[in-house]
Assembly symmetry: C2
């Protein structure tokens, strides 16, 4: 169903983090993430991905994905929020529906709603954090990997005030991963 611009966009995040709250090592390294697929262990990412119609990603996460050498998001349209990259910095193997933008994440959401998108996958620590602070993140799936890294790129950071969240559900997996879904709390500030 196409958004006719009258309904608010829904914005979702789906992130893996260490027990001490890092989404990557200082250099962006993800070697500590489990790489083996445990039979029968479906973390739900494919299902999550099938429920969104556009990807909104921060520049640093985009550069990490460029290091993978393949684009894991299929034909999903994507907007990359960056003040430093130019179109010519996008490798030719990246699909044509990946666009850079210099707008703020919240302004990009406004554009995406006008363009008829319904459901946004927000990715990247800084970007997710900025949407949390703006009250624009509807829900957040956190998958905790049972490891302490000691240092790295944190998901969370300083805030002007507490942000309470509402717990939706938690699942644990044979491999030791614990996945919790949180949504915006009714105790939060109203959307701006």
């Amino acid at each position: 169903m196409e958004n006719d611009g009258r309904c608010p966009l829904h914005v979702h995040a789906f992130l893996a983090l260490s027990l001490d709250g890092f989404i990557a090592r200082k250099d962006g390294g993800l070697d500590w993430l489990p790489t083996e697929n445990v039979p029968g262990e479906d973390l739900g990412f494919e299902s999550f991905l099938s429920g969104v119609d556009v990807l909104l990603m921060g520049r640093r996460t985009f550069q990490t994905v460029l290091g993978f050498g393949q684009w894991p998001y299929g034909a999903l349209p994507a907007r990359i929020v960056t003040s430093s990259m130019e179109s010519r910095d996008i490798p030719t193997w990246i699909p044509g529906n990946v666009e850079l933008t210099r707008k703020s994440p919240v302004d990009v959401l406004t554009d995406l709603g006008r363009e008829g998108f319904d459901s946004v996958y927000a990715d990247g620590g800084l970007l997710v954090r900025s949407l949390l602070v703006a009250g624009r993140l509807d829900d957040l799936v956190l998958t905790r990997i049972p490891i302490l890294l000691g240092d790295g790129i944190p998901l969370f950071g300083p805030l002007d005030q507490d942000i309470p969240l509402a717990h939706v559900e938690t699942r644990s997996f044979p491999s030791g991963l614990v996945q919790s879904k949180y949504s915006r709390s009714t105790r939060n500030l109203p959307r701006t």
Copy 2:
């Protein structure tokens, strides 16, 4: 059953932390912890407490507890690890079986084993972290409160190397708390 000194002590921690990993605000404040008892919601702390026979606590956490105005650990013997406090700094309303020590946490564990203790409740961020690093923490119950504080006293900190942990179990509660138990991983360094 009294420890005859031939069996290793078991060391356990039980901590509440915010989603962004803080155990207290910068000033030690715990106002963000849920204070209402939700009917039927047993977080298991009483059961945990009945399974230990001595408390090992860091100085900063001890001072936070002093601020409560009552000692919540009943007749449990306690050792407080501090390099700055003196016996005269302990208020008179604190039970007589609370002792200060200037030894390192690991050395105190050696003493406690010799004294016949079996099962240690380790409390305080720095202390728990030092025991984790030393490979002397057997298990760790983390209860995540669904709130982001942005700043405070973190449970975890810098490490010389990764510390993998083994997930034991996870429970979630109607109030939104998520409690996970982790134990030392077989991938960890051997005990020193």
